[in-house]
């Protein structure tokens, strides 16, 4: 240690080049924050604009009227019903399929090349554009699939069932990836303990791993369902672009959904149809952002620390 010296005019404040570098760094914080906030502002602006344009059309009649050529009489009745049928069928099919696939990949599949191919395949499927799934649905489910002259999948036509099958395949990678992540979060000690006490592998999965992974699986499934609920292109490809003026009562009927109705109204030139589109978007956004919010809440609630 040096001997204590008399106080000099020493300052920690940087000067010259160093000061400039520090000032630049301090400034960069606000520039970067500004860039980050632009996107958030766009989202807020979008919400305000849509509400301002479409709010006047939100009324009971808007929900109970069939689509119409007269914009002020047109409503969402058939598209809401078609949507409920479609999403119900998607949920019923997608959850067991996704959980089954994830459990298979994580717990039962032999560690070999085929399994790693399945994994790679799932991550590649996640990047396939939705319109390609629409093409798949059109060629396989709507028009039917034959192999060597044997009908494997009968032609379903542009029905709710065909749409639900298409969307189920579309969200399968998302839901599987989320479920696999959730299953991996379950501590191995739980699995080992259960197996050591004599439970079979399925009993271990059913009573210990799935309950532990459930919040993660639910988050993934809800986000995927929100995506399916907002899907338009794939459904238009399978031919769900019809004028529906009846209530759907089964899976074998043609249908329309709210996003398709919004698309339809957006493409029409009259100003009043545009208001309808904005009102439809309000309904769509409330549902989709609501689902996203639920997913985030589940994730935060059960977050492992």
């Amino acid at each position: 240690m040096a001997t204590p010296s008399a106080p000099t005019e020493f300052s920690l404040r940087a000067t010259g080049r160093v000061a400039r570098r520090q000032a630049l760094s301090r400034l960069s914080r606000y520039v970067l924050l500004g860039a980050t906030l632009i996107a958030v502002f766009v989202l807020i602006y979008l919400a305000i604009d849509v509400v301002r344009t479409g709010w006047s059309r939100i009324s009971m009649d808007f929900f109970t009227n069939y689509p119409s050529r007269r914009p002020l009489d047109a409503g969402l009745r058939s598209s809401l019903l078609g949507w409920v049928w479609l999403m119900g069928a998607v949920i019923v099919m997608a959850i067991p399929l996704a959980v089954g696939t994830a459990v298979f990949v994580e717990e039962f599949a032999p560690k070999n090349r085929l399994t790693s191919l399945v994994r790679l395949n799932i991550s590649n499927l996640a990047g396939v554009p939705s319109i390609i799934y629409g093409i798949l649905g059109l060629a396989v489910f709507v028009r039917g699939f034959e192999l060597l002259g044997i009908t494997i999948i009968p032609a379903l036509g542009p029905t709710i069932l065909a749409g639900a099958l298409t969307l189920t395949l579309m969200i399968l990678p998302m839901t599987v990836i989320a479920s696999v992540e959730a299953i991996r979060q379950v501590p191995p000690s739980i699995r080992d303990g259960s197996l050591a006490l004599g439970a079979t592998r399925w009993q271990t999965v059913w009573f210990h791993i799935l309950p532990g992974a459930m919040p993660g699986i639910m988050t993934g499934v809800i986000l995927a369902v929100a995506r399916a609920a907002g899907e338009t292109a794939a459904l238009i490809m399978i031919g769900a672009f019809a004028f529906i003026a009846f209530d759907n009562t089964s899976l074998n009927e043609s249908f329309t959904t709210v996003p398709i109705q919004v698309y339809n109204w957006t493409t029409l030139p009259q100003e009043d149809f545009r208001k309808n589109a904005a009102a439809g978007i309000i309904v769509l956004m409330v549902l989709v952002l609501g689902l996203n919010l639920i997913a985030v809440i589940i994730r935060e609630r059960f977050r492992r620390t």
Partner: protein, 321 residues
Amino acid sequence: MAQLQAQRPRPALHGAELEAQMRRSFLRHPGEKVIVATLWLCGTISLITTLLIIETLFVETIDFFREVSISEFFFTTDWQPLFEPQSFGIWELVAGTLNVLLWSLAIALPLGLAAAIYLSEYAHPRTRSLLKPALEALAGVPTVVYAFFALTVVTEDILRPLLGDDRVPIFNAFSASIVMAIMILPTIASVSEDAMSNVPRELREAAYGLGSTRLEVATRVVFPAALSGIIAAVLLAIARVIGETMIVAIAAGSTPNLTMNPLASVQTMTGYMLQVGLGDAARGTVDYTSLFAVASTLFVFTFFTNVAATMIINRFREAYE
């Protein structure tokens, strides 16, 4: 000790005996076999999906090339399927896709990377936990909503008053690009941010110790170290832009156009596919098969972009673990 041994009357099972015992316990649960078989079936469905996609695209594309020569498809530039004489040169549609891709990346890349750097290197954890879900909410907005926004707000309220009605057609690539940039921003920001957060702390601390400012640490240390993850993020975003349909179908128009001019009206590959999907092309006609030829081209583009992204992500994960 004697007590302990007394409590262990049965000798532990070994080898074949243990295996036989385990097999017996397995047989006590015959339902287990059914369940495992069902799970196998679930596991193969994803493979079957891929095979069906490839089969569908391949068969109909072959049909397409029975009527249209391969050289016309790849080596001419005019896409005119609706009027006689028909011509099927894919490049106008590819140019439409690349036009939107170019301008959306020009906007989303700086903004997305700035957001990633801010969230990873600057933001207080509480700010971050507010901003990240807000950004991710952008990724959840249905694309038909973005499409509405592109047409009504970006084109009609912003671009046309700003640049003049005569210069901005009602359907233009730029409005689609701007909105597409907003759509892919969360992808770029979120995945890049993950990559930056994975950079070991020691690298940052060494740089701070040498007197670097926060900005210098972020741009000269963390950014290069996370570069592979950032590239993967950008590739994922590119795949999304190439495959996005509703925004370009509604806002960019339906005029095939070999140009990179953002203010031109263009048609992308996906835009053409939706146009055919809206009409009712009969099976077997060249209109119908051209849909699959374009879909195959699109599939090849997105497939290779995604494979490249996956490979890069896997490689950079290995580097730090």
